[in-house]
């Protein structure tokens, strides 16, 4: 599946390539020009402010729960599962969906998106599902739309074929649609299904942090800007009013969320409803996934740039959306700057020292890395930022009703130290690809 990727390849918006590249070059130049101490200090202050906002939002709202109405009659529900070469996981997903508790019958629609792994043939034999087929591989959004258009339900539950909602997901989420007017979507707590590898263990903590801690915070202030693909619920009226999933979009779950918010609908989060999802097992898989997420995020945020700093969208427009776009941008620049600096250090010191004398090289290395006296004072703000990060990571376990156990430690360490660098690198590549207008290949 090919997508005409990048915001900048859109007709009439190619001039944005120049603006983007100019901005990128300008910020890089500023980074190189000013002292690295200033960069660390400014970066540290911004991070501490953002983390402080999250902290106070969390502390002030953590005890508040949405008052849910008691439903006299439960709405009709349709579960849509797009499937593309998912023979490894789709049957487990169907099992989880079939065993969902709900007072009424609900339909399960599986849309095969041109699979070639024999899953379509196997799915034909499964009873109790409605099986649809796309003529060819059209992408996840097209498959979802095909399913939604054929759904009878008032509530549409979109479930990825490698995700497994918990039994009570429906009865815990559907009342949220009726707690206030114009609730267009309800999201759940996405957790990692059976993490085995170190990378999966890191993602387990990341998911707890993102979908547990941060989603809880931004849901308090009605600023959810993504309805996660693994499992999210939508009111069918939303699709009728604002249209279906954008089929040319690689992160359709973010695009629909922004469209829902833009059109005055609300997105709620059911804090105790959980769905498990499979995650990439290795670093390359994770990097590819993040490239898709981040490129999609850049694309969608630029598409909805009119919401930025627009008081009509309150905290979402004034704070959260600019934060998401610019933090990604500055993370990428910061990473680029760090690379240049380390390259400089490598070229001017490490390599000549190693060539001069390997023993001297290792002695110097030990001196620079082990001598605590040489730690830069401007890193102190970063240290406080790190304490926030540690607190959020630990708190996310509490929110996930889990205890930090010995087997979590390697993933936790990776999350604390490796993850920020990895994210910086992924953002950097994503911005470069978006700015250079490269097509996305699924």
């Amino acid at each position: 599946m090919h997508y005409e990727r990048s915001h900048f390849t859109k007709e009439g918006k190619k001039e944005l390539i120049l603006i983007g590249l100019f901005m990128f070059a300008l910020v890089v130049l500023i980074f190189l020009w000013i002292s690295y101490k200033i960069i660390f200090i400014v970066n540290g202050i911004i991070i501490i402010y953002i983390f402080s906002v999250y902290l106070f939002l969390f502390l002030d709202h953590s005890q508040k729960e949405t008052k849910l109405p008691t439903l006299k009659s439960w709405p009709e529900v349709s579960i849509i599962i797009p499937s593309f070469n998912s023979s490894q996981t789709i049957f487990k997903c169907l099992e989880a969906c079939k065993s969902l508790n709900y007072p009424k019958n609900f339909e399960i629609i599986v849309v095969d998106d041109g699979s070639q792994d024999g899953s379509y043939e196997k799915l034909k034999e499964v009873k109790g599902i409605k099986l649809l087929k796309n003529p060819r591989n059209l992408g996840k959004a097209a498959a979802l739309n095909h399913g939604i258009k054929n759904a009878k339900g008032e509530i549409i539950v979109c479930v990825d074929s490698d995700s497994y909602p918990e039994k009570d997901t429906l009865i815990k989420t559907i009342p949220y649609f009726y707690c206030e007017e114009k609730v267009g979507s309800v999201v759940v707590f996405i957790k990692v299904a059976e993490p085995k590898t170190l990378i999966q263990k890191m993602q387990e903590i990341e998911y707890n942090l993102s979908f547990g801690f941060f989603f809880k915070i931004i849901a308090f202030i009605d600023c959810l800007y993504v309805t996660p693909g693994p499992t999210s619920l939508y009111h069918k009226k939303v699709f009728e009013e604002i249209g279906y999933f954008a089929e040319d979009n690689i992160t359709e779950d973010m695009e629909i969320a922004l469209r829902i918010q833009k059109n005055g609908w609300k997105i709620k989060r059911a804090s105790d409803a959980i769905a498990y999802t499979e995650v990439p097992a290795d670093l390359i898989g994770l990097f590819k996934q993040r490239l898709r997420w981040f490129r999609g995020a850049i694309y969608n945020l630029l598409t909805y740039f009119d919401m930025f700093f627009n008081p009509r969208y309150k905290t979402l427009g004034l704070f959260i959306l600019p934060l998401v776009l610019f933090s990604g941008f500055f993370t990428a620049i910061f990473f680029f700057w760090a690379i240049l600096n380390y390259f400089d250090l490598f070229w001017k010191f490490a390599l000549p020292t190693f060539l001069y004398s390997p023993i001297l090289f290792f002695q110097s290395l030990a001196l620079y890395f082990l001598d605590i006296r040489l730690v830069n004072s401007s890193f102190l703000l970063g240290f406080f930022g790190f304490l926030f990060w540690l607190f959020f990571c630990l708190k996310s376990f509490e929110l996930a009703n889990e205890k930090l156990k010995t087997y979590h430690i390697p993933g936790f360490v990776l999350m604390l130290f490796f993850y920020p660098v990895f994210i910086g690198f992924s953002f950097f590549v994503s911005y470069l690809m978006e700015f250079s207008g490269q097509r996305y290949r699924w």
Partner: protein, 220 residues
């Protein structure tokens, strides 16, 4: 209201920033204090030597005039590359560098003064000459400089009549520029032993010891 949390976050940020700067100030002061004592000793030695030099002028006709100039080498270690390296490292690590900048300038001025006094003493009393070793290094990370300093320290530790000095080449001090011009130095680490220039390429402890002995150094 949400905006209340944004305001509270700004206050917390201000407190953390203030506390971080306060901590940074304490850490930086500790580092500066560490080099300050060396610099103060050096200043004292330089001033004391200057007084001795004046006294020598007063006693120029005495038979004991050269004994007056037998200046004790009190802070020999402070004159070497090690302290200069520490200056550089702390300069990079500190956020508040004003005092360190001042100390650095003061250090090199006084070191230069001591160097001139050593030359003066050699001229006045050629029979009790010290071997003067000056190591011109690069301020930026320089593997050859680290290695050369290590060799100089090892060799001179076993010699009696040696005075070592180390000056950076790539700094913007007028007296260093004057030295550079005088010895016609390029921006590469160089060793000057009793006014003779030597390249540090392939310098070994044995080679240095031989050079020093040729200059009448008394070494084990």
């Amino acid at each position: 209201m949400v905006y209340n949390q944004f305001f509270k976050a700004a206050l917390l940020t201000a407190v953390i920033v203030f506390f971080s700067f306060f901590l940074a100030y304490i850490i930086d002061s500790t580092r500066t204090g560490e080099v300050k004592s060396f610099v103060q000793d050096l200043i004292f030695e330089s001033e004391s030597n200057r007084l001795i030099s004046k006294f020598y002028l007063f006693a120029a006709n005495s038979t004991k005039k050269c004994e007056i100039l037998q200046i004790p080498k009190e802070v020999q270690t402070a004159k070497t590359y090690q302290l200069a390296l520490k200056f550089k490292e702390y300069e990079q690590a500190n956020l508040f560098n004003t005092e360190l900048e001042y100390l650095k300038k003061s250090y090199f001025v006084n070191l230069f003064d001591l160097y001139l006094l050593a030359l003066e003493k050699n001229n006045a009393c050629p029979e009790n000459k010290d071997v003067i070793v000056v190591f011109f290094y690069l301020e930026a990370a320089c593997p050859a400089c680290i290695e050369t300093d290590y060799i100089i320290r090892n060799v001179t530790a076993n010699c009696q009549n040696i005075q070592t000095f180390a000056f950076p080449l790539n700094v913007n001090y007028s007296f260093i520029k004057a030295l550079k011009n005088y010895y016609a130095l390029e921006d590469e680490p160089t060793l000057v032993i009793n006014n003779k220039k030597y390249s540090i390429t392939n310098l070994t402890e044995e080679k240095l010891l031989t050079l020093l002995k040729l200059e009448q150094a008394i070494c084990k």
